[in-house]
Amino acid sequence: MTDELPKSTPQSSRLAQAEIKVIQLAIPGLALNHVRLQHRSGSHTGTPQLSALSQDPLVQTYLRRLAARGAAPNGVAAYRYQLRFVLRAAERLTGRLIRMGDLFRDVSVLGRALVDDKGGVEGECLSKWTLAQRRSAVRSFASLMHPELVSLLGEDPHMVLHRALRGMAERVGGGYRLTGGVPRRRGGRAPTADEIAAVLATAGQVPGFVGARNRALFGILAATGTRVNALRHLDGADCVVLPSGRVRLFLHEKAKVERREVELSRAHADALREYAEEFNWHASRQGWQVRVRLGEPGAIWRNSERGRWSYDDVRRTLQASCAAAGVPPFAPHALRRAFATEAASALPRHVVALAGGWRGLERLDDHYVRPHPPTIWAKLRSGEAVAGQEMDAHVVGEAVATL
């Protein structure tokens, strides 16, 4: 394996940056994101070149088979990224270009590459969750490329993988435990209901379709606990208006092929319709060709006549509204945490999980529900009051009995 990786020259990188800059300047409100630029140009320290993987026929076949097995495009992209990272780690450990076939031939390097927790940035340590996904990607590779790897290695690739992992793992009790990686950071804080109400009111004060859009989108996010990108990618054809007037949205669900059905309340359905009317009125005044229509194909959430409202813009709008409302800034995903927290404080967790689209309780418990101390104090106080009343009644009862 002596193939050299094609490297992007500083000149080509500068040209690419200039080109992206021109495109971004054409879109109002979109600033340069230098980290993303580094990723695109491949000059990021830890992110391997795309071509290293595209040259490996085994990986290309694997990705085709993975897609044929029904993996979602995001899932295919994630596994591709993890394989790239494994190869990059192996390259760093051995000091030479390495391909997946070579990696499986060298059990020691395979094991070390799988538990290598050095991140892309100097001094950064990857999480255990990332390492687990990396192992899943390599295990999936071993399964789908089983015939080719058997002919290459002369043995079952799963056995090779087991040996590689056991070689790096610690023997504990009746099994093995992998070391490396830091515990995954749990999500940030969950804003309170008052904070969300203040932010929504501020975001909706903007005149025109922008205010109506902010009210509708952030309102739906807060009320349904939907993921921001699932809602942002909503298509008009995925909005169903029932004869009863209810509006149901069919949203993409993470790691699922089938879409999730979300029913809007009357207020939010009206907010969505109001936004569509405002946008269409604005578009007709501006001479734009696009329209927002429920039940017909086309992006719903728009900032201009071009494409969808971008995630960066959604995030910036929310943070500006937080600043204007005097609330500590939070990301759109915090609204999902707030939904889980508010609902879980009043209802059983399995009901919350069903309502918010969590398949199990573990993720909901560990990453989303963030009980607010004031809520806990309020409940404790009311509990104490009830207990005090019961105690008083008991004392009075005993006194009456004594008399």
Binding site: A68, S143, L144, P147, H158, T224, P243, V257, E263, E342
Partner: protein, 350 residues
């Protein structure tokens, strides 16, 4: 008439027809031999027909466009079979991928020896050429084939009993009273019974029976073949009333009627096709203000209606003719999700 041709006619009678690519005579002969062997093993004719269809697809995808690879050549090349099983030309469902693997394994076992192949070694070679995951027990080979695990078509909105009644009410259209009664009965049976669409279009008057229930009540039941035996499924009130309304258009009593319940217009006595039945349902949905819904949505809505009537999960499974009660959970999953969303909304709105 060849056996494969007879099987095709069997499918046509059921309203399930598809276009075929012409195959070479040798391949047709092998398929014929395969059908005979499968039927001799006791396979259902429809199963044999479906397996033949999967084998045709494999041969088509192995050869050039409009020029399928002869099956004798395909038999001699297990690696090519594995390639088509793992990377099909078009996205398929996982159940289809598994059905293809099963059909190929049976074909190699039954027809391979007829063309001088060693079935055991061919099956070993096929296994070695297919991807495999780790296994837990002796009984699992871990073989993996292509196919998407979920549904390929997007589902429509979740319906409830009131929505079903609305669809049934809008089913009857046109001036012809017989046609109006037929369409209404067809949609009512699809909405308010556990019959599957192909069972509905194939329903005959002889299959319907008024059974005496507890308390002197007579309930309509329909006989269907499932899982190799004959079942009697309940046909509850709205569907039974619509069927009785259809029977009133004939001069005879309902119990003496014979022949297909849902007849096509034109030639007397011909079954309504699957496609026509689907169109009638789609039109009824549109008139009721819903997008076109699939049989799975109607079954789920019917299950939800049965739960509202006070039936337990086991009783719902009995009415739908389901083998496993757990299937009821799957049918009612989206109803449970919407119910949870409403509960949370009501609680948070306080």
């Amino acid at each position: 008439m060849s056996l494969v041709r007879q099987l095709r006619l069997f499918s046509a009678d059921s309203g399930l027809t598809a276009r075929r690519t012409p195959f070479d005579p040798e391949s047709e002969r092998l398929l014929e031999a395969y059908c005979r062997a499968r039927l001799a093993e006791g396979a259902h004719p429809r199963s044999a027909e479906r397996e033949v269809s999967q084998l045709r697809t494999l041969a088509r995808e192995s050869g050039a466009p409009r020029d399928p690879l002869p099956l004798s050549e395909l038999l001699a090349d297990p690696v090519q079979i594995a390639r088509v099983l793992v990377e099909p030309a078009f996205p398929i469902a996982r159940s289809t991928g598994r059905a293809r693997l099963l059909a190929v394994q049976r074909f190699v076992r039954l027809v391979g020896p007829l063309v001088g192949r060693d079935a055991a070694s061919d099956l070993c070679c096929l296994d070695a050429s297919l991807p495999a995951g780790p296994t837990n027990g002796w009984h699992a080979a871990g073989t993996l084939v292509a196919g998407e695990p979920g549904r390929r078509r997007d589902r429509g909105p979740t319906l409830d009993g009131a929505d079903l009644l609305r669809i049934v009410d809008r089913a009857a259209e046109g001036q012809d009273p017989l046609r109006r009664a037929r369409d209404r009965a067809l949609v009512a049976v699809q909405c308010f019974s556990g019959l599957r669409p192909e069972e509905v279009v194939g329903l005959r008057w002889e299959d319907l029976e008024w059974a005496r229930m507890a308390g002197g009540y007579f309930g309509l039941t329909a006989g269907v073949h499932r899982r190799g035996s004959r079942l009697r499924l309940f046909v509850p009130g709205p569907a039974a009333a619509a069927v009785r309304g259809l029977a009133e258009h004939s001069a005879e009593e309902m119990v003496t009627l014979t022949g297909p319940v849902f007849r096509a217009r034109g030639r007397a006595g011909r079954l309504l096709s699957y496609r026509s039945a689907r169109m009638i349902l789609t039109r009824a949905c549109r008139r009721a203000g819903f997008p076109a819904v699939e049989a799975a949505e109607l079954r789920a809505a019917f299950a939800s209606w049965l739960r509202v009537q006070g039936l337990s999960d086991h009783e719902v499974a009995e009415v739908l003719g389901l083998a496993r009660v757990r299937s009821v959970d799957g049918l009612l999953r989206r109803h449970a999700e919407l119910g949870a969303q409403r509960t949370v909304r009501e609680r948070l709105d306080r």
